[in-house]
Every structure is written in structure tokens, then in C-alpha cells.
Amino acid sequence: MKRNISINPITRLEGHGKIEIFLNEAGEVENAYFQVPELRGFEVFCKGRPVEEMPQITARLCGVCPAAHHLASAKAADAVYSVDPPTTAKKLRELMYMAHFCHSHIAHFYVLAAPDFICGPEAPPTERNILGVIARAGLKVGGQVIEQRSNAQRAQALLAGRATHMAWAIPGGVSKALSESDRKTLVEWGEGMREFASFSLKLFREVVLGNSMYVDMIRSDPYALKVHNMGLVDRNDRVNFYDGTVKVCSPDGIEIDRYHPADYLNHIAEWVEPYTYLKFPFLKIRGWKGFEEGDSSGVYSATPLSRLNVASGMATPSAQEAYEEFYTTLGAKPVHSVLANHWARLIELIYAAERWCELVKDPEITNPNVHTIPEAAPKEGVGCVEAPRGTLTHHYVTDEKGVLTSVNLIVGTTNNNAPISMSITKAARGLISKNTEVTEGTLNKIEMAFRAYDPCMSCATHSLPGQMPLQINLRELDGKVIRTIRR
């Protein structure tokens, strides 16, 4: 008998999301649809705005990764004016960004991901949250999580005035330099973050890699997705969050495309489906072939895992060590396990902390010259960074006064819309069949498939006792509800 499973709402997603799973007569998954029910229209209402306001305005695209938009926007604004900020300004932007990555990756790993691994994917929903994590890992760990993420936020505020929705980067540089006394604070917090990042990976090794059930899950087919990978790499082909070249590798690990971010329109395009407000970016070099895996498909991922997959390594020592351990353990490169994103995220956390420590000791970092007044006439520009959730592109066209006439945005999570849809369908197909009893644990395991992508709203705060989010209505063909499972 045909039935429909509605997962509404999905939790921990920027904006809202829902999943509709349709089962055929045999009780197998016919199809699953991932729907994003939000459309704000920044690309339209930003027209008429002066380009220097955009870093603050576009920050409001996301309250978890506002710094990513702030910097992509500032870089686009630099390009609009053809102005090159002073090196200190660029280093300050990158330093702020490393603190930002730390905040974001800690929030995702500990509050969103860790409950599934530390408490268990099928643990009672009332336990499967940050409080459950603290109960098992200890109050000391819990306190550390809070303190370190708080330091990461305070570090951004020290540099830029405020952490969430800063007003700091402007065309030509930034509005405020770093004082020596603030620098000392950042040195101290950076060291603390480095230790904590290292500890987080150790915790992951013990709790996740030390548990054969999780290792099997990571390696299992429902959570595998063989698609192309995209990420920014620096001149040495290493992962870089702030700047670089966009590199794309096939599911077999072969480089198939490489481009300067300003050229993005020749390399990616966006497909539209009528059931969701979010578009589906794809590689032009392959074309849109539908929701397909493999080399001939246009579908690509831009995630922490993707970044590690396309690069040759990490630019800082401990991160590089962790990178090598990652591929040795999982046995091949590229890695296709979506759940391995959690591990990749921790490797990136180590890199962000190490890079923070490097930058804060740079002799130029307290130089007061942090802004170059643009002289060229404003016209058009593209700015690109790696957001915690994927490659982020801002493209602006302005009039002669620097007021926007056209805005195009390809946001981190948007890159992953097709892979997320496919991972959900694959997990649903792998976990639900006519012989399965669909439990709350089953539904949570389906959620784990999208959660690994850290869809752009990982702001989950300290989770609280409560039921798991799902309700299944099993309906007859005529829509009559015959059974409801709530968790």
C-alpha cells in the first residue's frame, strides 16, 4: 500500500526545511523530496543599495556564518572598485575568519553532530542532545565547549566590533586596526583554541572511530555519495578558507576544472525544480543530468569533506598530520562517505586554530594602515570565500556611483542542495524497506544524512530535553491516517 512519510520540520537548518518520503505498494521508497520553503530575495532587494553597505546587509543572510558573507561581500566590493586592500587588512580579515570558522565548526560538531555519536543515533530523544553529550563526556568538557566557542565569538568582536553581523570590512580594507593589547588576548585565546581543537579530534577518535558500529555506518552505502567535489585551494594546492582558486575533482579524484572565482559563470549554473525555493547548482562542464551520481553527472558537493578531497593537503602542521591520518584510515582518496564530513570538520578546526595562532603572531598584524581609499570608478566584481558550509560567491554590478544594479549569490549550502537531496533519498532507501519497522531511530538516521552537510543553520544552542522532531503519518491512498508514530 502506498504511503507518505512527512518529516516536518527538519531541525538545524538555515531557514526551514521539510522532507516528503513516498513509499510504493511494496513498502519501498519510491522517491523522497527535500523542500526549502523560504525565499527572501536578497538578490533583488539589494539592488539600489550602495556597495559598501553590502558586507553588513548580506551578513543577514545567515546568523551562524555572517562573517563568511561579510568577507565574500567585501572582496566583491574590493573588486568592484579594483582596489587592493593593504596586506594587514587582508591578514586581519583572515584572522577574524579563522576565529569565525572555529565558532561555527564547534557549534556544529558538539551541539548537532556529537549527540548522534556520543549518545547514539537511536538513543532516547530526551537524551540525544547537548545535555546528553555533557552527561556522558562530563561537565568539564561541556564547560570547555562553551568557553572555546565563546572565545571564538569574542575574538571576532575584538577585531570587528561585534561577532554576529559585524560592520567592519569595507571596499579597500577594514575600518579598525588591531591594538597590541587586543593582540595579546587573541594570542592567548588562539592557544586555547588549538588545544581544544586537538582534544576534539582525540574525542572523535575515541568515541566514533573506536566504535565499530559507527565506523560501519561511516563506510556504509546509504551514507555514501559519489559526486564531484569543489573547494578553494591556495597556490600550493592546500585548503584555504579566505582566498584561492576554485578546484573541482571528479568522483575518482581527477581534477576536471579549475578557475578563478571571478569566472564562475562559465563554470557553474543553477537548475530549478518546482517543489522547492532553493536552486540546484551544477557543473557546466557536465551539464544538468538530474539527481545522478558519477562522473558524467553535473552534481557536485562543496563541503569540508570536498575541500579535503580536492586539496593536496593542509597548510599547517597538526592539520596536515590529521589530514594524512584521515585518508590512511579511510583507505582511499577521495572519500565519499557523507558522515566523514564530521571528521573533516574537526581537521578544519585544527587548521583554523593553527592559522589563527600564525596570523596573530605576524609582525604586520598590528599595523595601523588597514584601509586604502578606492580611486578607480566602481563597476563590477566577484568575491569568493569558503563558508564553513561550502564555496560562497557574491557577484555585484554597480552604477558609476557604486550603487548596485545587479546581485548574484551562490551560497555555501546551495551548492549542496542536490547532494543533500540525494543523500536523503539514498539514506531513506537504504534504511526503509518493506521489512523494516520505521521507528524514531530510523528517522533520525535519515536526518543524519543531511545533518552531516551542516546545512546553513547550525546555530543549535544548548539543546534541551524534548522529543525528537518527527511525526510519521501513515496514510491510506485516500489520505486517511491509519497510524501515527511520534517521537
Binding site: 516528503e20 538578490e43 559598501e52 553597505e53 543577514r60 530549478v272 543553520m457 543549535a460 522529543q467
Partner: protein, 321 residues
């Protein structure tokens, strides 16, 4: 000591999530709140469903934080539902209080948004001209999406609001203080604004005013500013005079002028209108030609004067041509 655990909920309408991040940033304070309260509904972090809220008795939620603008049918539905189920409904953050930055959606319309996003955008590849629809019939069944409103509104535009917490997002130290007040059960009279002062930002701003007048306006990236002097006197638009304090001048300390995310002080109805009074006092010349040039030099009067408050301004939206 109050033994009764209050029931708390939090919901986000059309929101960026920054208000929830700000709550998280209070660190140990939020854990204290979790301890003192039963969180009965908070979609971003725990898993009670809409159906659970529907099943709750009227007024059974003691306090509900509601952040985000009212931009879609889904947002409006949840606002009405949570108003019904909550004794106290708090407009949390600029979007709920004034419509927030999403008020700028009122400069355009839904058709233009859909056409740009799905048809004419430079990266769009949509050979069949597909546009998402509220109800879609597929072979397997039916899929639905909320409808988008032409005009974005604040929470108070559609339901009665008991308290307001301004800010985009509200400043973390203010949220810590508010949590203390909630845990102690010491909320002020209904209708109050929490976490913000009644006086303008200028009252607490450290920058010095020399009572200078100006010939024209400029923009932050086109000048070398004096970090100790009032922005307005340097020709940089700053909404301090019409904006509530409480944020500790975070942006100003970052050397950027205020854009009014805390909303207007009690005496002000429309920040643009009120700022026009300020700006007219700033302009030096009496000569119509010089005045026109000064006015011309002011960028994006609409976006810059109403960046967070357009939906609750007097004019509210751009007239369709």
C-alpha cells in the same frame, strides 16, 4: 524560591538564525535558563512539532520568544498559533520588532523576486521556465510550499505582542540580563522594551561632538575618518540620534556608523523622517543650489535610513510604478 518550572518556547519565522546564536552566546546563562524552565518548543534545537504546539492548551506556554519577520503564510500561521498558546509573547530581535532587514523586500514585489531568482538571474539555467508553486501534483502525490507575502510585516502587525527585545541581533550582555529577569520572575509591565534604553545612542556614544555643520555627505570607504569625532559631523550618515541605546555602540567602536538596528526611541515614529530633521540641521548652506548638492551626496536614503525598519515605517513600501 519558585518551585514551579515555567514553560518556554522559541520560534523563528523568516529569520537568519542570528537571534538564536546570540542566545547561545550567553554561554552558561542559557544553561541556567534550561535548568529553570521546560523548553516545550524550539525547532532549531529540539524536536517538538507543530502538531505538539497545536495540541497544547491555550496559554499553556508561559513565555515564547518569537524572532523573524512575517514574510510568508507559514510565518503568519505560526505567529497566530503561538499567540494563542502563549501567556507572554516576546518579539525577539529587529525582524520581529520592526520587520528587520527583510523590510527591504518591500522595495520590490514577489513577481520580480521570482523572475530574477528563477528566470533571469545570470547563473540560472531553466530552459522550461519553471517557477516553484504552492501546490505541486507529482506522480507520487502532492507537495506544498508556503505562499510569499507581497509586503513584509513585523510580529506586532498581526498579533498582540507583550514585550520587545530590540537588536539585530540583541546584544549578548543584554540577553544575559534578560534571562536573569525571566528566571527571577521579575518582568516589567507588559508593553515594555527589554534590553534597550529609552534614550538615543548619542547619549552613551563616546565620540565627541563639536557642533560642526557640513557641506556634503560622504561614505565610509571614501574618506579617512577621525575615530574620535561624531560621524555626522564628518559627513557620514549615522542613525544614533533616532536609535535606542543598549548595544554598547558595538559598530561605532568598530569605526562604522550606526544603521539603527535597535529601532527608534520612544518619541520617534519614523526614523527617516526624524533623521531628516537631524540632517537638515547638519547642512551648512542656505543656498538652494548648495542644499540640493548636499542632498544629492546622500547615498540610498531609503536603504540607509530604513535598513532595519522599513516594514514599520510610515510609508512601509515602495509604490509600484
Amino acid at each position: 524560591m519558585n518551585q514551579h518550572k515555567i514553560k518556554i518556547a522559541s520560534y523563528w519565522a523568516t529569520s537568519c538564525g542570528g537571534c538564536d546564536v546570540s542566545l547561545l552566546d550567553t554561554g552558561m546563562k542559557v544553561l541556567l535558563l534550561a535548568d529553570a524552565a521546560d523548553i516545550v518548543f524550539w525547532p532549531i534545537l529540539m524536536d517538538a512539532k507543530e502538531a505538539n504546539v497545536e495540541a497544547m492548551p491555550k496559554d499553556s506556554i508561559d513565555l515564547c520568544f518569537f524572532n523573524g519577520s512575517i514574510r510568508s503564510s507559514e510565518n503568519a500561521k505560526m505567529a497566530h498559533l503561538l499567540r494563542k498558546k502563549s501567556k507572554i509573547l516576546v518579539a525577539f530581535g529587529a525582524c520581529a520588532q520592526t520587520g528587520g532587514i527583510h523590510g527591504l523586500i518591500n522595495t520590490t514585489d514577489t513577481k520580480t523576486i521570482k523572475d530574477t531568482v528563477f528566470i533571469s538571474g545570470p547563473s540560472v539555467h531553466n530552459p522550461n521556465g519553471v517557477i516553484p508553486v504552492p501546490i505541486l501534483r507529482i506522480p507520487e502525490g502532492k507537495l506544498s510550499l508556503p505562499t510569499l507575502f507581497e509586503t513584509v510585516k513585523s510580529l506586532g502587525d498581526i498579533v498582540a505582542v507583550d514585550y520587545y527585545i530590540p537588536g539585530c541581533p540583541p546584544a549578548v550582555p543584554r540577553l544575559s540580563e534578560i534571562i536573569d529577569v525571566i528566571i527571577a520572575g521579575e518582568l516589567p509591565p507588559k508593553g515594555s522594551v527589554l534590553g534597550a534604553t529609552d534614550k538615543a545612542l548619542c547619549e552613551t556614544c563616546y565620540r565627541i561632538r563639536h557642533d560642526r555643520k557640513i557641506d556634503s555627505f560622504t561614505r565610509p570607504h571614501l574618506m579617512k575618518q577621525d575615530p574620535e569625532t561624531c560621524f555626522l559631523e564628518q559627513g557620514l550618515l549615522c542613525l544614533g540620534p533616532v536609535t535606542r541605546g543598549g548595544c554598547a555602540e558595538q559598530c561605532i567602536r568598530g569605526n562604522m556608523p550606526c544603521r539603527g538596528c535597535y529601532g527608534v526611541t520612544p518619541g520617534v515614529i519614523d526614523p527617516g523622517g526624524a533623521m531628516i530633521g537631524v540632517l537638515a540641521s547638519l547642512i551648512k548652506s542656505d543656498d538652494p543650489g548648495a542644499i540640493d548638492r548636499a542632498v544629492e551626496s546622500l547615498s540610498d536614503m531609503l536603504g540607509n535610513l530604513y535598513q532595519f525598519t522599513y516594514a514599520s515605517s510610515l510609508l512601509k513600501r515602495v509604490n509600484k510604478k
